[in-house]
Subunit: 105 residues, 2 copies
Amino acid sequence: MDIHNIEEEQVKFLRCIGEATRLRILKHIIDGEKCVTDIVNAVGKEQSLVSHHLKHLKDCNIVIARQKAQKAYYSLAHHRLAEIIIQSESLVKELPVCQEKDCNE
Amino acid sequence: MDIHNIEEEQVKFLRCIGEATRLRILKHIIDGEKCVTDIVNAVGKEQSLVSHHLKHLKDCNIVIARQKAQKAYYSLAHHRLAEIIIQSESLVKELPVCQEKDCNE
DNA sequence: CTATATTATGAATATCCATTCATATAAATT
DNA sequence: AATTTATATGAATGGATATTCATAATATAG
């Protein structure tokens, strides 16, 4: 795998987490695996849509799925993913737009 | 600015850096400001396209522009941006796909 | 065995977005 | 003043992708 493929993978990764519903899914499973129904309730979107996004996240190796009976449990594929999510959030708060708008939760 | 706007800004940010040409631009100016012509040569894309992407990056507060005579110099809007770029790259190398393919430059 | 609960999937649609092309603006050089 | 250099911009287009809908698949419960 050369540098170009790395960059392609990096773009694929960033684009994958850079979508509203997927980011909400990730933030919801950040503290441990959750089943699909649970995630659907948390993000407030259609089951079908959540399932599509979970597949997308899995194809990008961002989450892993564990099957237990008729339920599927999803969790982050790597502990460092949580760091990136947290750090990019805290960075965004420091960027000019947020600063101007007095950016605190 | 409440939590929802933060998340919107985070998505906007991640999506903005999650594009091949823009990521290449960012990696090229990571060590200091560069003029447009220089960036165009580095990324090997049309001047017009690079200009559009620079505008996009500026609108997202990811880069800042400095005008000097007829030249425009672009640089990262925040020192922590470099960290995110580097860290997401190193994280991607640790994800399953890259591991399988024996992922080293 | 039928019904219900849980998750996945394919097709269709609609929206978004990267790219190209043509052109504008503005400064510098001749 | 005319030409060249450097950068920006608006419109058009093609391709990607989020969402919805209908339905499949599979397991459990009654």
